[in-house]
């Protein structure tokens, strides 16, 4: 259904030749971009998660003291 | 109510006794009007006239009302025991609105004397001027009560106050521009109501929030 809609849109707008990165996607290079972004994002999330942990430990320590 | 009027009267008397602040503001007002007259002498259009006029009102207002709480510093402890915060803010709002209104009347006289009148200054223009000035004066009164608690209050008055009065200023300027360009009253009523409701929000919040700043 999605593809049908897409084909329809492409042929409909074909008259105006609205350029999109179609070739780029067909070559599969978009997956390289997605891969790089995923690596970075997961890296940042791990970092954030570890910071969260560290603060939790500090909180526990503070609660023991207090 | 009696107490509120006594507080207003007290402010009036203080200003009457040491006239320098009032004369200072009047001089400030004339100075910016003369400067804008010299810079805009030959190419002033009605839209520019309007924007300039409201900017002058804004700057006069922020300077005039800044003093409303800052002069209280020595007397605050006394007032603290005598009157309730709601009465104090009511008195201050009334007084700064009166003060602002007198200043605006003076400034429109000098302003149109030098820069001319842009055309349609009908009754609605003055209604809008009145409503807008209530908003400006009330917002700056509240901001002045906050700024007086800080160390560098003159700068803070401007940076705290300007973002807050943007809605009022935008509405008032746009209404008065429409009126100057000859729009009928029916075009501006909904905008005027919006402006009025912004004023209501600001005044209501002043009454709610002022007791917290006063107590501290």
């Amino acid at each position: 259904m999605m593809n049908l809609l897409n084909i329809f849109l492409v042929s409909f707008y074909g008259f105006f030749q609205i350029p999109m990165a179609d070739q780029f996607r067909q070559d599969g290079k978009i997956y390289v971009v997605v891969g790089v972004i995923l690596i970075l994002l997961i890296g940042f999330f791990i970092f954030l998660w570890r910071t969260d942990r560290r603060i939790k430990k500090l909180e526990e320590k503070a609660n023991k003291q207090g | 109510m009696q107490e509120v009027f006594e507080l207003v009267y007290k402010d009036l008397k203080t200003d009457w006794r040491n006239r320098y602040p009032v004369f200072g503001i009047l001089l400030y007002l004339s100075a910016i009007i003369i400067i804008s007259y010299m810079s805009f002498m030959n190419f002033i259009k009605p839209e520019v006239w309007n924007a300039l006029f409201w900017l002058i009102i804004l700057f006069t207002s922020v300077n005039a009302i800044a003093k409303s709480f800052m002069q209280e510093e020595n007397r605050t402890t006394y007032l603290y025991f005598v009157a309730s915060p709601v009465k104090i803010i009511a008195a201050k709002l009334i007084y700064s609105n009166l003060y602002q209104f007198v200043l605006i009347l003076i400034s429109i006289v000098i302003f149109s004397l030098l820069l001319g009148s842009p055309g349609n200054l009908n009754a609605w223009f003055f209604v809008n001027l009145f409503v807008g000035s209530i908003g400006l004066a009330s917002a700056f009164t509240m901001v002045s009560s906050l700024a007086s608690k800080t160390e560098n209050n003159a700068t803070l008055m401007a940076i705290l106050g300007f973002p807050i009065v943007i809605p009022i200023l935008l509405m008032a300027t746009s209404i008065s521009k429409q009126l100057i360009l000859g729009a009928p009253a029916s075009d501006i009523t909904s905008d005027l109501l919006t402006l009025l409701s912004v004023n209501v929000i600001i005044i209501a919040l002043s009454f709610i929030l002022f007791p917290f700043t006063w107590k501290s």
Binding site: I18, I30 | V198, T213
Partner: protein
């Protein structure tokens, strides 16, 4: 709420989905925008995130005034700080995007103006805090300013679009080429999760800062 885990997992899952889906799922073919329409998933949520964080900051300020607990003040400040971060990032990314699609970085658009005013207000908030020494007094005065300023921000939501007759953002006139995505159900599949995910990320960052402040207070750092 500060220490529960599930919504942090949700944040990560949503954002991972947004980044993958935002790049791979089909988008409408529109002139001028072309592929840059995908920026919508990353730039617009900044604006929503900023508003959400500032709202939360204002709510904490109200709580502070009613309870006078310094914790609420810490909440309020840190939420506002992350809100400012979102506002600045959204503004810079928006100007960058607008330069290529609308032809100029700043075009007096209501949402642009609104975020500029909001940033002015919260910068002023921090200057105000900086100029009061006493802790209780600082908390109280800045809470009052926070509420007062936030309340005047709300009417702007209605005023600004009315004044700008030819807004470039969709939904308030103008720019017909751009209005199409309003109705595009395809984009909603990513856009709504993006708004929620980015806002949650903002709250996560804020909670880390808040907990840090509270702990360092406790340990006397």
């Amino acid at each position: 709420m500060l220490r529960t885990e599930w919504w942090k997992w949700l944040t990560m899952a949503l954002l991972l989905y947004v980044f993958v889906g935002g790049l791979l799922l089909p988008v409408p073919r529109l002139p001028i925008l072309n592929e840059t329409i995908r920026v919508l998933y990353f730039h617009v949520p900044m604006w929503f995130g900023m508003i959400a964080l500032f709202t939360a900051s204002c709510i904490q300020a109200i709580k502070y005034l009613s309870k006078e607990q310094l914790t609420n003040d810490i909440f309020s400040v840190q939420l506002a700080e992350v809100g400012i971060l979102f506002g600045i990032l959204g503004m810079i990314s928006g100007m960058f995007w607008a330069n290529y699609t609308w032809g100029e970085p700043w075009s007096s658009d209501p949402k642009q103006n609104m975020s500029a005013i909001a940033l002015l207000i919260y910068f002023a908030y921090f200057v105000l805090r900086g100029s009061i020494k006493d802790e209780q007094q600082r908390a109280k005065i800045s809470a009052v300013y926070n509420i007062f300023a936030f309340a005047t921000l709300i009417p702007l939501l209605f005023i600004l679009p009315r004044l700008a007759e030819d807004s470039l953002h969709p939904g308030n006139g103008g720019n017909p080429g751009f209005n199409a995505y309003d109705l595009d159900s395809q984009m909603r599949l990513v856009f709504y999760p993006a708004v929620i995910g980015w806002a949650l990320l903002g709250f996560w960052l804020a909670t880390i800062k808040i907990r840090y402040e509270i702990v360092s207070e406790k340990l006397g750092l």
